[in-house]
Structures are given as structure tokens and as C-alpha cells.
């Protein structure tokens, strides 16, 4: 019996290793090779060229600068939001908590479209209400605004995890000993949350520099690496240059990611494992409490405003000029977008189950089994998180364009891209929940005579179901809203809704772009709702959904 189990494990490990080597590592290597072999022989000329030319050099520094600014602003906003919603008893907490997470599941262009509709030169706020015509939202400032709104939930998510686990006992003890509430914050709460702050900052930094959708639309002349790599690769057919730019994007993202995963996450300052105990009382003065409430309300208001704008944009004939109501955008979107909608749902639906299964299998192997190369497997599985979509897209085109891996133009290349890019989501959820299950439960089952398959099915699987399904929903969302990798992989036969939205936004058909974004988010929300119903309404589990 044991021998069988061992060989199944060994085979599975081997298969997983090969899959990851082929679909995660190989494309990356191809990009690196292309960038250092511009004329067929090894040369760093592309990199030299990029650093020599000002207009290329500045894309690198622009990206870094953008990342730093947005990481900082998002962490601040996220911290305030997390603190307000988990350390203070505010009215309407559950409502705020839901709204704050909205930007995470939105289509990538939704906020950009809203910003243009509201603050563009024909914007509702800028032109109609304030009468300003010379202000341009395009550029670094617009980009920072949009990215902060999009990405602060990432920081928020990390920080709630950290703040919620800081035991109130410590803070209560301090208060009992006579310290003021602000001193408690400064000396206990905040220092304990510093690893969370660092984690959040780094994660947003990576997300910001990898962002492709927002800069494509609203960056104006503020050139960034992700866009320029795309333009060089697809617009100028300069594969070496595009690849080199992609690698320059990869390096800071990779470093930040590794620092976060292997240095900061290890420094856990959590004082108590599991859920904190002890009475919760407000850690802030009434004045501060009101300020926080005001802040949250404004934040929520802004987020909802942006959503409403997109909804409104779908119905007005020509935003900024003709505010008559019309359904023509819906008709146009249906004509133009029907194929894309079908394709996108199909591709995402096919990819998602595989993503979930793969993630679970790897999670099980990593947590419960011991084998040679375990850490390498875990690391390379998470690689997809660290690598910007642009790099993946270029890598897949380079890697799978020749025999024996002729996949460009097919559905398979898109589905595979989804699976391996989104697998880390399911993987992390799986690892987290498996770690919480005591192996002795499984041992008890085998002791009572069940074989390992039965144990897995009847004991392990039901216990990790919530994590599995939350992994599934997030994988589906990420597949539906992917842009930066997908834009390289769409073809005449297989379209993706996000590419279509981008095209509509670029030609200023904001009405159609709004409608398509709404359709996208409706699909995503529907799936989320289904998943939520499936897991059941449990606050613990919905916390795990994050």
C-alpha cells in the first residue's frame, strides 16, 4: 500500500515539475534569451541601447517612480481603511467592507473610463460643473489616482489580516496600565503591524509597475515599461528590444516579490495564532472615530461614484456633448462584442477548474508530502505572481510559436496562460487551509481502515472546500479581467473582452467601453454570488475569500 502511494506521489511530482518547467519557466527563459541575443549571438547591445536613449531610459525610471508613489499612497489608504474597519466599532462596517473590495474584482479599465468621463477635458466634473478646459488628467497624476484606487484594496487585504490578528489583550493591558489610546497605537499596534505594512507596500509596488491597462489609456506621455515593451514588441516588431524592456520590468518586480515572500512574511510579529480573543473596545478617541468615519465615507463615495459613472456612461449618447439617453451603445456593444463575450466566458470557464485542481494538488504535495526539490516547486509555482503579465505574454508568444509547441492563435495558449498565471491564487489558499487541518484527523481516518483516497475525499476535501472555491472564484475573475498577457495572445479566432474594451477606449467610444465593462463586471459578480452561495454565509469563510 505504502509503495503504491509513494509511486503515485512521485509520478505526480514529476508531472507537476514538467508542467511548471514548460509553462512557467520556459517562456521566461525565452524572453531572457531573446533580449541578449539580438542578432543571433550573445550581446548586451539592446540593454546598452535602452540606457543610452533618453526616451527609453526614462520608461524604466518612470515605472519605478510610479510604483513607489502608488505603493506608498495605497498603503496609507489601505492602512487607514483596515484600521477603521477592524479596530474600531464603526456603524455600517459590513457595508464599507464590501465596497472597499470592489476595485479588486473590477475590469481593469473601469476606473480609467470613469476618470476620463468625470475629469477628462469633456468631463462631467471638469467641464460641466467647474468649467475648466485646460486641465489634462492624462499623465502621472491621473495614473496615480487611478492606480491608488485600484490597488489600495491589495494593501487593505494584507493589513486586515495583520491587524485582525493582533491580540486586543496587549492593547487592553496597556490601557489598563494607564497609557493613552494614541500611545497604544504608536507603541504597540503600529510596530506590530510593520511587517504587514512592508508586505502591503511591496505587493502594491509589484502590481503597479506591472500594470498595463491603466497606463495604456491614461498615462499620456508618461511612458512606462509595460506599455513600451508591448509597443516595441507588437508595434515595431523589435523582439529583442521588447524582450529587454520586459526583463527590465521583471527585475524590480521579482526582487520586490522575493523580499516580500521570503524575508518579510517570515518575520511574523503575530503574538497569538488563530483568532484573537479578548474584549474589543475602540482604540481611538471619539474625534478620531468621526474622522475615520468621514474618511471611509468619502472613500466609499468615490468608489461608488466611479461605478455609477460607468453605468451612466452606457446610457448617454455622447458624454460631454450630448446627454440624451440612448440604448445605441448596448446595441453596438452586442454587435461588436458578442463573439468576445462568448470567447472570454468559454476560455475562463475552461481554465478555472484546471487552475483550481492544479493549485490544490500542488498545495497538498507541498504541505503533506516530502520530496526532493519541494522548495523549488513551491517557489516556481509562485513565480507567476511575481512575473508581470507583459513578460508572460511575450514569453508565451516566443515559446509556443514553433514546433513542437505550436500554440499561437489557439484557444489552448490562452487557457494555459490563465491556468499557470492564476494557479498561485488557488495554491496559496490551499496551503493556508491545509496547514490549519491537523494531520491527526487524516491519520485517525487511516487508522480506522480508510485508504488514502477515501480519506482525501471524505475528510481532507470537505475541509478545504472553502479555500478551493474561493481560489476558483478569484481565478475566474483574474481570467476574465486579464489584459497585459492576453493582449499578445488574442487572435482572429479567439478574442478577449478586455482587449475589446481597450480598443473601444482608445478610439474614444466611451459609451461602448462602459457597456462592455458593465457586462464584464456583471458576469464576474454573478460568479462570485454563485460561489458565495455555495460556500455558505459565514464570516470566517468570506474572510478567507480575500
Amino acid at each position: 500500500m505504502k509503495k503504491n502511494k509513494d509511486s503515485i506521489t512521485r509520478i505526480t511530482v514529476a508531472v507537476i515539475f514538467s508542467l511548471i518547467a514548460l509553462f512557467v519557466v520556459y517562456p521566461l527563459i525565452k524572453v531572457i534569451i531573446e533580449s541578449v541575443m539580438p542578432n543571433g549571438s550573445f550581446s548586451l547591445s539592446e540593454y546598452k541601447y535602452i540606457f543610452q536613449k533618453e526616451w527609453l531610459r526614462r520608461t524604466f525610471f518612470n515605472s519605478i517612480k510610479l510604483g513607489v508613489i502608488v505603493a506608498t499612497s495605497s498603503t496609507i489608504v489601505g492602512y487607514i481603511a483596515a484600521y477603521s474597519l477592524y479596530k474600531v466599532k464603526l456603524p455600517g462596517r459590513s457595508f464599507f467592507r464590501q465596497i472597499v473590495m470592489l476595485p479588486l474584482i473590477s475590469p481593469p479599465f473601469m476606473l480609467t473610463i470613469s476618470i476620463i468621463l468625470l475629469l477628462g477635458r469633456n468631463g462631467l466634473i471638469t467641464k460641466k460643473i467647474l468649467g475648466i478646459t485646460s486641465y489634462s488628467i492624462y499623465g502621472l497624476h491621473g495614473l496615480v489616482l487611478v492606480q491608488t484606487l485600484c490597488m489600495f484594496p491589495i494593501a487593505y487585504r494584507v493589513l486586515t489580516g495583520v491587524l485582525a490578528r493582533i491580540s486586543p489583550e496587549l492593547e487592553n493591558a496597556a490601557l489598563n496600565l494607564g497609557s493613552t489610546k494614541s500611545y497604544v497605537f504608536r507603541s504597540i499596534t503600529f510596530p506590530l503591524s510593520i511587517p504587514g505594512v512592508a508586505s502591503a507596500w511591496l505587493l502594491v509596488f509589484v502590481t503597479s509597475i506591472a500594470d498595463f491597462a491603466n497606463p495604456m489609456v491614461i498615462a499620456g506621455n508618461y511612458d512606462v515599461l509595460s506599455v513600451q515593451a508591448y509597443l516595441q514588441f507588437t508595434g515595431m516588431y523589435n523582439i529583442p528590444r521588447g524582450s529587454a524592456l520586459a526583463i527590465m520590468l521583471l527585475v524590480p518586480a521579482f526582487i520586490a516579490f522575493v523580499v516580500e515572500k521570503y524575508w518579510i512574511s517570515r518575520k511574523s510579529f503575530i503574538t497569538v495564532t488563530g483568532k484573537p480573543t479578548g474584549a474589543k473596545q475602540d482604540m481611538v478617541s471619539p474625534t478620531t472615530k468621526n474622522l475615520l468615519l468621514g474618511f471611509l465615507s468619502s472613500l466609499t463615495f468615490v468608489i461608488l461614484l466611479f461605478y455609477l459613472t460607468v453605468i451612466a456612461g452606457s446610457f448617454f449618447k455622447l458624454w460631454g456633448i450630448d446627454y440624451s439617453l440612448t440604448l445605441e451603445h448596448f446595441k453596438y456593444s452586442w454587435d461588436v462584442g458578442f463573439d468576445s463575450i462568448k470567447d472570454t466566458i468559454f476560455l475562463a470557464s475552461v481554465a478555472t477548474p484546471f487552475t483550481g485542481m492544479l493549485g490544490m494538488i500542488i498545495a497538498y504535495l507541498v504541505v503533506r508530502k516530502n520530496f526532493y526539490g519541494k522548495h523549488i516547486l513551491q517557489f516556481s509555482s509562485l513565480l507567476s505572481f511575481a512575473v508581470p503579465g507583459t513578460v508572460v505574454g511575450i514569453g508565451y508568444v516566443l515559446a509556443f510559436n514553433e514546433k513542437p509547441f505550436l500554440l499561437t492563435g489557439t484557444a489552448a495558449i490562452i487557457i494555459l496562460c490563465f491556468i499557470f498565471r492564476n494557479m498561485p491564487v488557488g495554491l496559496e489558499a490551499g496551503i493556508a487551509s491545509l496547514k490549519q487541518i491537523d494531520p491527526s484527523i487524516e491519520e485517525a481516518s487511516t487508522d480506522l481502515g480508510a485508504d488514502s483516497a477515501y480519506t482525501f475525499r471524505k475528510i481532507t476535501l470537505p475541509l478545504i472546500k472553502p479555500a478551493f472555491f474561493s481560489g476558483l472564484s478569484y481565478s475566474f475573475v483574474r481570467a476574465m479581467t486579464a489584459v497585459s498577457a492576453i493582449i499578445f495572445l488574442v487572435s482572429a479566432r479567439w478574442n478577449h473582452l478586455t482587449t475589446l474594451i481597450l480598443a473601444q477606449t482608445e478610439i474614444m467610444r466611451l459609451g461602448a467601453a462602459s457597456v462592455l465593462s458593465l457586462i464584464l463586471i456583471a458576469i464576474v459578480m454573478f460568479v462570485f454570488y454563485l460561489m458565495g452561495k455555495f460556500i455558505g454565509d459565514d464570516e470566517d469563510l468570506s474572510e478567507m475569500m480575500t
Partner: protein
């Protein structure tokens, strides 16, 4: 609940399966035509012949890049539309094959490839397009010449695309070099840079932005602007008196395409009178006789330069790099 969920999942998969291509005859197309025009044209062809057209819209540069990237395994059989320069580039890179369509005889000789690698379907001159409302607010007049538009009063009022990413804009650059000679042309582009408030990525964006009043003046192709004007936007179209460049939107068969025979039929149909009328209905001016929309400007009525597209194609990379160095990097 489980049942409901599984049936919903099944429903989604069934919806998706509908998108799996049927066994009917089909052809994969890359098009650089305006999205709406492409849709109308291809739907008409589909209705008439029953052939399923799978198409994706790519800009000229993107299309050429795609074809180059896929040269070992082409994913499409024909490229429809796109600046003639791109088609010349594609020919020189060995990405296309010659084809003398029956209808090509109706296309004037200087608008098709002498070796039949590409055939023009319409020509569009470059022009200035101005938003009359914004002009009035700013107390400006619509520019009437290349010399006009670099005058100080137009500073930061103009939008044009980036020559590196847009065929339209490279056309402008190439035109200036052909009018003035290279050194003077680059001096001119530096002055123009002061007037330009933003270099857009797509060639048709400046016109659209002028139409909705985002900026006062754009540079683009006349047919795009005529169409916008007919939709009711307050626009004035002017041509530079020194002479202007133009694009020859063309079609080419892609080498190694899987559906070349079907593509040939489509190619020929795209040169027919019927197709020409569809183009004309969207405000472009086809080479074949067709009833033009009011306001459409035939190329014969515009002062165009003697354009050498082959030269322009050969020098594109060099000139774009020079532009990036001397002007875009400030």
C-alpha cells in the same frame, strides 16, 4: 444547490462551445480598417457567400509585427486595409504573396504594386481638423498650411499620433521630409513639437478628440474627419497649401495562410464595385467609381505631394529613431 451550480456551469460551457468554429468554410483575416467599416464589409461578404470571416483589428504596425512573428505558422490568410507603407514593408520582408485579382484592373497603376503584391482600395489625404467651438473660444483660425501650425498661437493646441506607433503620423513625418528635405524637416518637427500637446498612440485619436472638443486641432486622414463632421460634430477641415501626404489603404495575401483560396475570393470581392460603395458610404474615397458621401474629398481635388512610399518604407526605422532621439526625448 449543488445541482443548480452544476447546471449553471454546464450552461456556461454550452455557451462557450457555441464559439467553437463550425465546419463551414471560413477565412481568418487581419484588418487595419476602421472597426465599423470592417464589420460592415465583412458582414456583407458573409451574407453573400456564407463564408465565415474571423477577423481581428490591428493597427498597421501591429499587423506587420504579427505577420512577422507568425511567419513560421501564419494565423491569417489576408490583410485588409492598413497604410500602403505597411504592405510594402510586408512585401519586402517576404510575408505576402502576389495575386492579380480580376478586379484589380480597375485600380489606377500608381495605387497598386507593380508586382501585384498589394492592391489599393482607397486613398486618404492628410489634413488638419479643427473644432470650431474651441477655435472660437481661443480666437484662432483653422490652420491652412504646415507653416501656420507651428506659429506661437497654436502652442499646445494640436494633437497628432506618435510616428513610432502610428502609420498616420509617420506619414506626416515622411511627408515633411519629402517636402523640405531631411534636416529642415527635423527642424520643423521640433517646432511642431511645441504645438503638440500630446502624441497619441492611434492615428485616428486626434481627430476624434477634436470632434468631442478635447483638443482644438488634430492632424489625421480626411475621410475620418469628414465622417465625424457628418455625424454632427462642429469641425472644419483644412488642407496644408504646401502639399500633403496620403495613405493608400491596401490589401495583401499573407504567405502561408491556411485559407488562401477563399482569401483570394475575398480579395477580389473587396475590389468590386459593391465593396467600393460600402467604402464610400463610410466616407472614404475608393478608387472605383462609387457614389460619394457629401463632403468626401477625392484625392484628385487635394494638393498632394509626389509621394514615394518605397523610399518612406526603407527609411522608416531610421527616421523614427531619429525622431525619438531628437524630438521625443526633448
Amino acid at each position: 444547490m449543488k445541482k443548480l451550480f452544476s447546471s449553471l456551469l454546464l450552461a456556461i460551457l454550452i455557451i462557450g462551445l457555441m464559439s467553437v468554429p463550425t465546419l463551414a468554410e471560413s477565412v481568418n483575416v487581419y484588418t487595419s480598417l476602421d472597426e465599423e467599416l470592417a464589420r460592415t464589409v465583412f458582414e456583407k461578404y458573409q451574407d453573400e457567400t456564407g463564408v465565415d470571416i474571423r477577423w481581428v483589428r490591428l493597427s498597421t504596425g501591429e499587423a506587420v509585427s504579427r505577420m512577422m512573428a507568425e511567419s513560421a505558422n501564419p494565423q491569417a490568410s489576408i490583410w485588409v486595409g492598413g497604410v500602403g507603407l505597411g504592405h510594402i514593408q510586408a512585401k519586402e520582408s517576404g510575408l505576402t504573396i502576389p495575386f492579380e485579382a480580376e478586379n484589380a484592373q480597375h485600380v489606377p497603376a500608381n495605387f497598386k504594386d507593380p508586382d501585384n503584391y498589394w492592391t489599393g482600395i482607397y486613398a486618404g489625404p492628410l489634413c488638419f481638423v479643427s473644432n470650431t467651438g474651441r477655435l472660437e473660444e481661443l480666437g484662432l483660425e483653422a490652420p491652412k498650411s504646415w507653416a501656420d501650425i507651428v506659429k506661437p498661437e497654436y502652442e499646445n493646441q494640436v494633437q497628432v499620433a506618435n510616428p513610432g506607433t502610428s502609420g498616420t503620423s509617420y506619414n506626416v513625418l515622411a511627408t515633411m521630409v519629402q517636402i523640405m528635405g531631411e534636416d529642415e524637416a527635423f527642424e520643423y518637427m521640433k517646432k511642431l513639437d511645441r504645438s503638440v500637446v500630446q502624441y497619441t498612440r492611434s492615428g485616428s485619436a486626434p481627430g476624434k478628440n477634436a470632434a468631442i472638443g478635447e483638443i482644438p486641432i488634430g492632424i489625421g486622414y480626411a475621410h475620418d474627419q469628414v465622417k465625424l463632421k457628418s455625424q454632427g460634430y462642429p469641425l472644419e477641415i483644412t488642407f496644408p497649401e504646401e502639399g500633403t501626404g496620403y495613405e493608400v489603404a491596401s490589401i495583401s495575401l499573407i504567405k502561408g495562410g491556411q485559407e488562401t483560396e477563399t482569401a483570394k475570393d475575398l480579395y477580389n470581392w473587396l475590389l468590386s464595385e459593391e465593396a467600393a460603395q460600402i467604402y464610400a458610404d463610410t466616407f472614404v474615397v475608393p478608387f472605383r467609381d462609387a457614389e460619394l458621401q457629401p463632403g468626401a474629398v477625392p484625392i484628385s481635388e487635394v494638393n498632394t505631394i509626389d509621394q514615394d512610399d518605397v523610399w518612406a518604407g526603407k527609411n522608416k526605422e531610421r527616421l523614427v529613431e531619429k525622431w525619438n532621439d531628437e524630438i521625443y526625448s526633448q
